[in-house]
C-alpha cells in the first residue's frame, strides 16, 4: 500500500492530469497560423 505522502502525491498528479501541458505551451506565440489541434479522420496523414 502507498504511504501517506505518496497517496498525496498521487492525488495531486491525478488532479494535474486534467490540466495537462499543451504542445503550444512550449512554443513561442505564433500570431499567424497558431497550432490548433483538431480531431481528424484516421485516414488523413498523421505525420
Amino acid at each position: 500500500p502507498l504511504q501517506r505522502e505518496h497517496q498525496f502525491q498521487l492525488q495531486m498528479l491525478e488532479a494535474a492530469y486534467y490540466h495537462l501541458p499543451h504542445p503550444s505551451d512550449s512554443e513561442k506565440l505564433r500570431a499567424y497560423l497558431p497550432r490548433n489541434p483538431y480531431p481528424l479522420p484516421h485516414y488523413y496523414p498523421q505525420q
Partner: protein, 518 residues
C-alpha cells in the same frame, strides 16, 4: 511580508506598461531602446534601488501574472483553450522578456556574476511562488503560468548570443537547481510540466550534447533520478491509474530519446538509475541496460559458438560514475566486508550478511535494495581486480573458490526467496554490453546455477533471466548471451529441470528462445 506602501500599485503599473511596450511595433523595431526607456521608468519608481525592492518587484509581478492566468483559465467556458492560452501568454511572454533583458544587461559586460545572481534570484522567486501556490490551490493548482515562464525564459537565455553563450553553463546550472527544487515529489501537481521542461528538445540538447566535456551529464542524471524516485512507489503495483500510465509512458519516450541519441550517458549512470527503478519495471530497466557505446559493434548473441571470452571488450571495465564503495553502509559493515575479502575470514561474517541486508529504511520493503545492489557490484569489481592481480582472466574456473564467490554463494543459499530474487536481480543488472563487469557477472550467474545445492536457486536464476527476456524489446546483450549459454551448454542440464516443463506456456517460451538460438 511588509511590502513598502504603494509598491503593489507601482509594480502593477510598471508591469502593465511593460506589456504594452513589449507588444508595440516600436519595441519590435528597436527593442533595446524600448527596454532602456522602461528601465529608466523602473529607476524613477525606485524599483532598482535595493536588492530587496527588486526581489519584491519580481515576486509581486510573478503573482500578478499567475493570478491573471488563474482568472483566464477559470473563464474557460467563454473562450477556447487556444484563446485562453493566447491571453495568458500575452502577459507571461512579456514578463519573461523583461527578466531575460534584465539578466542580459545587468552588471557590465565582463561581470557575469551579476547576471547569474539575478537569474538565480528570479528562478528562486518563481519557484517559491509555485510551491506556495501548490500548497494553497492543491488539486486546483494550474501548472500553465509556471511552465510557460520557465520554458520561454530558458529558450530566451539559450538564443545564440555572445553575452549569453559566456554564461550558458551557469544558466543551465540555475535551471537544474530550480528543477531539482521543483522535483515531482515536491510539487506533484507540476509533474507533467516538469517532465516537459526536463525533456524539452532544447534542454536535452544543451545538457547532453552542446555543453562541452559532458559537464551537464551529472546534473541531468540527478533530474532523472528525481523522476524515477517519484514514479517508483506508483509502479510497484501491477495496475497503473491513467495519470500514472501517461506519466510512465512519457518517461519511456524520454528514455528512448536518450537510448537513441545518448547511449553513453545511460551507460555511465545505469547503476544509479537501476538503483531507484522498482524491480517489476522490467522493460524500463531493460531499456537502460540495453544502452551501449555507439562506437561499439555488438556480436550477434545468437552467433553459433560465440566465444565471449575472446572478445577484446571484456577486458575493459565500464565507467560507473556512482561511488559504489560509499554506498556500503554502515562503515563497520564495510570494514568487515573488506576484511573478509582480504582474509577470507572470519566465516561468521557470512552468516551476518543477511541481517545487514534486511535492515530496510523504507516502509513496506523488507530488504535494503540499494545496499544489495552496491554489495554485489562492489564484491564483483573487487573479484575482477583480485583475479587480475594474479595475472588471470575471469572465467568459470578463476571466479570459483574465492572470498568473493563465498559471499555470492552464501547469499544464494542463505536468503529467502524474496531476498534471493533481489540478489539475482542485482547481478542481472550488470549484464549489459561487452565489458569486464558483464562477463564476470555472466560467469557468476552460470556458476551459481551449476553449483547450486537446491533446485530453488536454479529456478530463481531462470526466473530472473526469463522475465527480462519475455518483455517487449530492447534486451541487453549480456542478458541474451547468458541465457543462451545456460540453455545450450549441456553441463547445466537445463532441460532436465521440472520448472522448465511446469506449464505449456513456459515450455513454449523456452523452446521459442531455444529455437531462435539454434
Amino acid at each position: 511580508f511588509d511590502d513598502p506602501q504603494g509598491l503593489l500599485e507601482k509594480t502593477e503599473y510598471l508591469l502593465r506598461e511593460w506589456v504594452n511596450i513589449f507588444h508595440s511595433p516600436s519595441a519590435s523595431r528597436d527593442p533595446t531602446k524600448a527596454f532602456s526607456v522602461f528601465v529608466h521608468q523602473m529607476n524613477v519608481h525606485g524599483i532598482l534601488k535595493t536588492d530587496d525592492l527588486i526581489t519584491r518587484f519580481f515576486r509581486l509581478s510573478t503573482q500578478m501574472c499567475v493570478d491573471l492566468c488563474y482568472r483566464a483559465l477559470a473563464d474557460q467556458n467563454s473562450s477556447t483553450p487556444v484563446l485562453v492560452r493566447t491571453k495568458c501568454f500575452h502577459t507571461l511572454d512579456a514578463f519573461v522578456r523583461l527578466i531575460a533583458l534584465l539578466v542580459k544587461h545587468s552588471g557590465d559586460a565582463s561581470n557575469n556574476a551579476t547576471k547569474v545572481n539575478l537569474l538565480n534570484k528570479v528562478l528562486g522567486i518563481v519557484a517559491g511562488v509555485l510551491l506556495q501556490d501548490h500548497e494553497v490551490h492543491l488539486t486546483e493548482f494550474q501548472q500553465l503560468p509556471y511552465h510557460r515562464i520557465f520554458i520561454i525564459l530558458f529558450l530566451e537565455l539559450n538564443t545564440p548570443e555572445p553575452v549569453l553563450e559566456v554564461i550558458n553553463f551557469q544558466v543551465l546550472t540555475a535551471f537544474c537547481h530550480t528543477l531539482h527544487i521543483l522535483r515531482p515529489s515536491h510539487a506533484p501537481a507540476f509533474a507533467y510540466a516538469w517532465l516537459e521542461l526536463v525533456s524539452h528538445r532544447v534542454f536535452i540538447g544543451r545538457m547532453l550534447a552542446i555543453t562541452p566535456q559532458q559537464k551537464g551529464w551529472g546534473m541531468y542524471a540527478q533530474l532523472l533520478i528525481d523522476l524515477f524516485k517519484f514514479l517508483a512507489p506508483f509502479l510497484r503495483n501491477a495496475e497503473l491509474s491513467k495519470p500514472v500510465a501517461l506519466f510512465y509512458k512519457g518517461t519511456l519516450r524520454v528514455l528512448l530519446v536518450l537510448l537513441h541519441d545518448f547511449p553513453e550517458f545511460l551507460c555511465d549512470y545505469h547503476y544509479s538509475f537501476c538503483d531507484v527503478i522498482p524491480p517489476n519495471c522490467i522493460q524500463m530497466r531493460n531499456l537502460i541496460l540495453s544502452a551501449f557505446p555507439r562506437n561499439m559493434r555488438l556480436p550477434d548473441p545468437f552467433t553459433p559458438n560465440l566465444k565471449v571470452d575472446m572478445l577484446q571488450e571484456i577486458n575493459h571495465a565500464p565507467r560507473v560514475l556512482s561511488n559504489i564503495a560509499s554506498l556500503i553502509q554502515p562503515a563497520s559493515f564495510k570494514k568487515d566486508l573488506d576484511n573478509y575479502l582480504k582474509a577470507r575470514a572470519p566465516v561468521t561474517f557470512l552468516s551476518e550478511l543477511r541481517g545487514h541486508l534486511q535492515v530496510s529504511h523504507e516502509p513496506g520493503l523488507r530488504y535494503n535494495i540499494k545496499l544489495m545492489n552496491a554489495l554485489v557490484l562492489y564484491v564483483g569489481t573487487q573479484a575482477i581486480a583480485h583475479i587480475r592481480s594474479k595475472t588471470l582472466q575471469p572465467n568459470m574456473t578463476t571466479i570459483a573458490h574465492s572470498a568473493h564467490m563465498d559471499i555470492f554463494q552464501n547469499l544464494a543459499v542463505d536468503l529467502d526467496t524474496e531476498g534471493r530474487y533481489l540478489f539475482l536481480n542485482a547481478i542481472a543488472n550488470q549484464l549489459r554490453y561487452p565489458n569486464s563487469h558483464t562477463h564476470y557477472f555472466s560467469c557468476t550467474l552460470l556458476y551459481l546455477f551449476a553449483e547450486a545445492n537446491s533446485e530453488a536457486i536454479q529456478e530463481q536464476i531462470t526466473r530472473v533471466l526469463l522475465e527480462r527476456l519475455i518483455v517487449n524489446r530492447p534486451h541487453p546483450w549480456g542478458l541474451l548471451i547468458t541465457f543462451i549459454e545456460l540453455i545450450k551448454n549441456p553441463i547445466y542440464k537445463f532441460w532436465n529441470h521440472e520448472f522448465v516443463h511446469c506449464a505449456p506456456e513456459i515450455e513454449k517460451l523456452f523452446e521459442s528462445v531455444a529455437r531462435s538460438c539454434m
